[in-house]
Each structure stands twice: as structure tokens, then as C-alpha cells.
Symmetry: C2
């Protein structure tokens, strides 16, 4: 049955079904609605949880107390979506997708009622699920994930009730380091247990080392190269410690921040194409490959890395919003594409800022690129200006061509967003030689006369020439 | 006499003469020295003033008290240059250049001794001179420019001695607004008298209006559309007021911040090519056009604006340093070019941040470009994150092609350096449509999920499509 057939079958309106009511799904729904009114397009959206359009990235700041109220993290409530003529069905899980029949099966959590409902166009925005290690004790009271607002509330409730002041964070990626900050803010003694050789494995180890040292400087106990083997509980059944092969770390509360995987079990069961990282594969218009009427976006898809030329999985709200915008435009009869990512990410732990974009050394090696690497020290402002703080910039450039491949920055105030310059340069395929002449904003309160990114580019350009 | 002839005449060493001991000149000398040792290259540098390699951009922060000591503004002292085998002759002014004879005439301020000295290669880095209006009373005690460290010291001395607390700043460009901040910091009641319709004429008037309002919010009296006609003095001969056609503004101290012009009288007298803005014209290697052995850089040259395709004059330390680096590399036997600028500038007045890059509306019109303009309001961080502050972004894009032409930003913390994203996009010739998908760093403490630059790009891309 083609689109026109379906439309004929039910009158003149097309029917868009959206699976997942968070950033990607509801951005798609909203944008489609902007372009096509309710007379032309019926929109039905299913969300299995209790919230729509919330900022998962904001949860650490809510837990840490920077954000006082859960509702501040909600960009748009179910009621607001419904006011825009979106038939939003909360606490209703889609349990099957039938691409041949152009229908999905839904089940209401409250009543248990299950039904099939047809679509002309389908948007899959099922997000990601946190990796939850299969460890003894991992389900004990006091062990928390931080994926959803409900997770966040549960953790806050535990923190309010717990008398002890020892927290263990398992994982030292973005979630792990941000939760470490949150727990420090709440007065906890924090231990971060990390499987890798350094925290922040999205950085090269030498830059991760700087994060390790800075986090120790903030009073956080950093345990690297440590695999958690068990969550140990006390007589009351609550968590009392996290055990690794070699040691035990007392814990009154444990936060799991190990990362996420694409939530694509529905898509897999429906025979939709998945990539090597388990995410849905789409074309440039965010259409699921080989399926004219199905789009997918957000944390459940793989995206093209413009630097490596390969697919990656990156769960990040800013991409989910862009995907939703692109999907909604296309579903709404317009034209938009998502060209891909360069892998930019920024984070902070108290006043430590961490940023990266492009390829790490091992990424470059993996895709067959030869490169030079330089690392420089500079400052966020002119050296004489109050508040100038040190910053380390690592830059990776391709041999011979001199094309920028990646940048990592660790520093204090003003470090993180400097990576945006590199993100744009990567997108443009710029060489480090060309970057040395970039006309970046200069005034003593904002930058040394040579911006740290320019200092790195100069050194990288010299290194490239020496390999020619 | 060609280079080899000159070398033969004095032995095997080439002789580089540098006119002007500040950022461009001494960067060139230092870089040339790095590439060629004293056995190969003799370097003689003339500086008519008392300082080398100082940060003129830092003077407002020294006057305002953010920087406590003058010497912090000096990147490298005469002694440090001499230690690198540069024959630096301080308080010695070059009074003539003889390109045909390949020599310059120098005069020592102390002794009055004058002499000709030969060069094989010449670097002209004579900088800029402040516009000093030809007004009655402009030379009265209490009226100050802020171009040199001596100027800064004289102003600080006046501020220390003056009992009154009323300051008038003439001019509302970068120097004017930065000096307004400095005087506020020193406890003055500040009036800024400005010839233009709004402050910061490097912005479009609508954005300048935001600066006007914010500066008034800081307690600064803003007088626009006002031409100063006279500086009035008291019975003691000191300044007592600044008069315009319509009014009089009492003043215990007056700061002139009207802008600068290229200091090219020497070059003009020597018949070297000057552009429409009075600056020396160079090629991509910063060589003076038509002169094999003469380079020029810094505030005395015109630079190619990559967006308009025309020459401009921009006095800015970051360009001067880049020019010096390029010149020194070429003089030292290497190869480097300065491709041009996109016109990025950032500034601040207390917590107000101001940034611009590329073309204003009137610039675009002047060079025959048709364009769309959008202005958006956003915030520096996620709206729910503490310290999120409003930011206005104006974006100009070419009709039909959608090519980015310019960006202006006015806001608080985090506004200024966001312009760098646009500066790189301009350099790469990016369209605003392409910019909507830029992978910029996102985390709640650093940006809303759609960075303000992306919000502007989305709106601009829509506006471009509507003109197609």
C-alpha cells in the first residue's frame, strides 16, 4: 500500500505516527505540524514514560542542585504538544512495528489495552538505553542510573534519605564526570571507578590524564583500570560498597554512568537495517535506508562521521534536535538533510572544562590515516588579564595534506567552547596551515593575542611540513 | 644594487632593517632570527619610542586597574630582543626610506645624531597614529589619547591627581567603550560623546542601539549624533568641559578614542604604494607591492577583506602578530602568506560583550551584494542553567547563494567568542543552510541545545529560501 493508497483509505489526511516523545520525536512532530496543519496531517505520538521533550543532559545539574526544579528540564509538556494538535499518547509503549502493513502495535501501561494503529509515515525515535552491567547486587536499593527524569528523582530521593556521605560513580565518561560534580556539590566524598586507563575515553589518554589529575585536585578519588565485579549490600539489603577485582570502595550511594546503547529492539524485530553499533541506518534525509515511509533520529540512529567517513553512535540532545528538525521538515513536505557530525562534545567537572572534536589518535589509525600530533599550553585570556587560566590544546592533523583531524582541550573557564572553532574547521575540511591565519576574536579579556587554537595550529602546521 | 650585490659589499651576511619595534616589526625580527642565525642575517630594528612589543589593547585594562603594572603589558623588552642578537636601537626614529639606494635614515632622539644605514631587506611596521581632532583646547592638560604606554601612564597620572570625578570619552568605538569601562572602574561619572547615531559603528545601528542601552544601564551617559566642537578650559588652563554644537559636558578628564589611521608618511614620501585608506599595499606574502625587498605589516598596512574582496584598514594586535610571523618566515627563507581577514572584533564594557565579523548591511550594499538579515534572541547556556544570560545574534546572508556574510552579537558572558564560529564559517565560504547542521559543543553549562549561532543560521536559511 503506498502513501496515496493509505490516504485514500482514510480520507484526505495523511497520518504520521511518532514512536518516542523526547527530543527527536517531538521536534519532528512539531516541525511537521508547523509545515502542515491538522487538516492535512494527523500526528499521533507514543511515549512510554511520564515526560516529553526533557533535557537528559540537564539531569546532573538537577541532582547537583544547580537546577532547582525538575520541570525546568522539560522543554515542552504533553499538554503543550496537544495544544498544537498532536495526539500524544503518554504511558503507551509501542511494542511492534509492521512496515509491510504500515502499522504499529501500542500498549497502554495503565489499562493494559493493546491495539494496532496504521501510519502513512512513521518516525522512530526510541532513544537509547543505559548500559546496566549484569553484576551481583546491581539492582540493590541505593544503585541508580540517570537516564530519565524518574531516574533523577529516584536518585535525589535516595540522596535526601541517605545519612552516609560516600558515593561511588561507576564510569568516567560524560555522565560519570558530570555526576561526580553533582555529588561533590551535594557534599559527598566521591570515588569514580573507571574501566579505562584514564577518565574520558573520548579523549586520548594523555589528555584524559589531565582530567584525572584535575579531578583528583577537586578532591575526587579516581580509580582507573578497575572493573567492577560486584555491588555489595549490607544487612538491610542496601548498597554498602562497590567491589573490583582488587579492592572494595565503601558506598552509601552508587551511580551508574557507563554509557548508552541505541534502543533499537523494536526496529530490529521489524527487520529494519541496523549498523555495527546497533543503531538504525538512515540516509541524508534521516529516512531509514530502504524504507520510503520511515524516518529515524536521535539516540537510536547511527550518524556519519564526516572526518572518518564511517558511521558512529553518539547520544546527544543537540543531534536529536537537529534530526527531529530535518525529519519534520521532510515529513512536512519540505527538504532538509543532516550531513553528519564531526564528533564535538563538551563537558565540565566543577571549574574543569573538557572538550573534543574529530578523531582521536586511535580513531585516525583505525581508519588508515597517518597524522601528526601536537600539544600546546596557553591561556584563556591575555596572560596579564585577571582570570587568565591555563588551557591545554591537542591537535591532530593528517600527514602530507595537513588537514585537521581532531582537537581536544582541557582547561578552565573559556576552554570548552573554543573547540567550536575546530568543529567548523573540520566541517570545512580546513588544513592546519589555513587555520593559522583564522581571524578569531581578540581582546585581552577574551584571548591571548594568539588564540590557543591558533597556537596549536601553528605548531601542527610546522609538524606537517616536517613530515613532507 | 640587488640583494647579492649588497651582501657582497658588506661580506656574507644579509642585513634586515626593521622600522618600528612593536608587534609586527618585532614578531618579524624574532621569526627571522629563529630561521636564520646571526652568522647569516644581521637584524637592525629602530623604535622611536621607549617600549617594544607592548599590548596597546591592554591599556584600557591597565588604566582601569585590572592590570596593576605597566610592565605586564610588555611581551618582550628591548633587552630580551637584544639577547636574541637583534640590534635594537631605541628612541631612534627612521626619518626617511630610500628604496632606490636601499637605505634608511635614522635619528637618535637623545643625541640628535642622524645617519643613513643600508638594508638588504626592509620591514616597515610603523603602526598607526590616533586621530587627534583639530579642535580648540585639544592640547590642554587633562586631555589624553591612549595609543602608547606613555599615553597610558600620563592618563593614569592625571587620574591620580584629579579631584573631580567627571570624565568625557570622545568616540564610541572599541577604544571609546573600553575606556568608558576603565573610567567606571576608577569611580568616574562617564559621558561618551559620539558622532555616530549609535555607539560601535562597526556594528549595524540596530545592534549599536543595544550597546547604547546596555551602556546606559551601566550608568554611562551616552550622547550620540554629537560632534565635539571645542574642548573648554578653566582659568588654570586645564580641561573643564567638552562642547558640542548643542551642549556642554563638564569634564575633569577627557579621553580621545576616535580611532587611528595608518602611519605611512614615511612610506608615502618614499613613493611606496598606498591604498584608499592610507595603508601600505602588500601582496599575499606581506611584501610591499612592486618592491622585492620591502615587507610591511601591522597597523600601517591595508588587508584584504575575504568577504567583500576589497582592502580595509584594521588596527589590531592579533593581525599585527600574524603579519610579523608571515614576514619573518619569508625574510628568513621560508614561505608563508597572510590570506586576509574577515573582520572579526570583540570587545566588552563591564559585563556587556560585543562581537562582530564579516560585513555589516551597509558594507554588503557597498560591494553590490543583496542579502537577507535576521536577528534572534537566545541565551548563553541552557535556559535552566544558572548564569544563562540573554544574547542577541544578527546574521546576514547573501540572497540566492545563502552564503554567510556577517554576524554581530551583543550579550553578556559567553557572547563575544561565539563570533569565532562565524569567523571560521566566513573563511570557509559556508552557507547559512550548511551552518544549521554545524556540530557545535553542547552541554547545559555552555549552550542551549541549539546554540544561538545555530538558531540564527536556521532563521537566516529560512529567509534565504523565501527570496529564492
Amino acid at each position: 500500500m503506498d502513501v496515496n493508497g493509505a490516504r485514500d483509505a482514510r480520507g484526505t489526511r495523511e497520518r504520521l505516527v511518532v514512536v518516542g516523545g523526547d527530543a527527536a520525536g517531538m521536534s519532528a512532530a512539531s516541525q511537521a505540524r508547523r509545515l502542515r496543519g491538522p487538516d492535512e496531517l494527523e500526528i499521533v505520538a507514543f511515549e512510554r514514560g511520564n515526560f516529553t521533550s526533557f533535557s537528559a543532559c540537564g539531569i546532573p545539574y538537577w541532582v547537583g542542585g544547580d537546577v532547582s526544579d525538575r520541570d525546568e528540564l522539560i522543554a515542552r509538556t504533553p499538554e503543550e504538544h496537544r495544544e498544537r494538535a498532536i495526539d500524544l499518547r503518554m504511558r503507551t509503549e509501542v511494542t511492534a512495528i509492521d512496515p509491510a502493513g504500515k502499522r504499529v502495535r501500542a500498549r497502554e501501561a495503565g489499562t493494559g489495552t493493546a491495539y494496532w494503529t496504521p501510519y502513512d509515515k512513521l518516525v522512530i525515535a526510541t532513544g537509547a538505553r543505559p548500559v546496566r552491567p549484569d553484576l551481583p547486587g546491581v539492582d540493590a536499593p541505593g544503585v541508580h542510573g540517570v537516564q530519565t527524569l524518574d531516574d533523577g528523582q529516584a536518585l535525589i530521593d535516595t540522596l535526601s534519605r541517605t545519612r552516609g556521605r560516600r558515593a561511588v560513580v561507576v564510569g568516567a565518561g560524560y555522565i560519570g564526570v558530570e555526576m561526580a560534580e553533582a555529588l561533590i556539590h551535594r557534599g559527598y566524598e566521591v570515588t569514580v571507578v573507571n574501566r579505562g586507563s584514564e577518565p574520558m575515553s573520548t579523549l586520548d589518554p594523555d589528555m584524559g590524564r589531565l582530567v584525572h589529575e584535575a579531578m583528583e585536585g577537586l578532591g575526587i578519588t579516581m580509580v582507573d583500570d578497575a572493573e567492577v565485579t560486584e555491588v555489595r549490600t549490607g544487612e538491610d539489603g542496601r548498597v554498602r560498597a562497590v567491589a573490583t577485582r582488587d579492592a572494595e570502595y565503601p558506598a552509601d550511594v552508587v551511580v551508574l554512568g557507563i554509557g548508552v546503547r541505541p534502543e533499537t529492539s523494536l526496529a530490529a524485530a521489524a527487520g529494519l537495517p541496523l549498523g555495527a553499533h546497533g543503531g538504525l541506518l538512515t540516509d541524508r534525509a534521516m529516512r531509514v535506508r530502504g524504507h520510503e515511509d520511515i524516518w529515524a533520529g536521535g539516540d537510536c540512529v547511527e550518524v556519519l562521521d564526516l572526518v572518518s567517513g564511517q558511521e558512529r553512535h553518539i547520544a546527544l540532545g543537540t543531534h536529536a534536535n537537529k534530526h527531529g528538525q530535518v525529519i519534520g521538515t521532510n515529513v512536512g513536505g519540505g527538504y532538509a538533510t543532516f550531513p553528519g557530525v564531526v564528533g564535538t562534545a563538551v563537558s565540565k567537572v566543577c571549574d574543569l572544562e573538557i572538550a573534543r572534536t574529530g578523531l582521536r589518535e586511535k580513531d585516525a589509525r583505525r581508519v588508515g590515516l597517518r597524522f601528526v600530533t601536537v600539544t600546546i599550553e596557553s591561556t584563556s585570556r591575555a596572560g596579564y588579564y585577571p582570570g587568565a587560566s591555563p588551557m591545554t590544546v591537542k591537535m591532530i592533523a593528517e600527514q602530507r595534506t595537513g588537514r585537521l583531524l581532531g582537537v581536544q582541550i582541557v582547561g578552565r573557564e573559556g576552554a570548552a567552547k573554543r573547540v567550536d572553532v575546530a568543529a567548523v574547521a573540520l566541517t570545512a575540511g580546513m588544513t592546519v596551515e589555513r587555520m593559522t591565519a583564522l581571524d578569531l576574536g581578540y581582546a585581552p579579556p577574551f584571548s591571548p593575542v594568539w588564540d590557543p587554537v591558533l597556537v596549536a595550529a601553528r605548531k601542527a602546521a610546522t609538524a606537517v611540513r616536517q613530515t613532507c
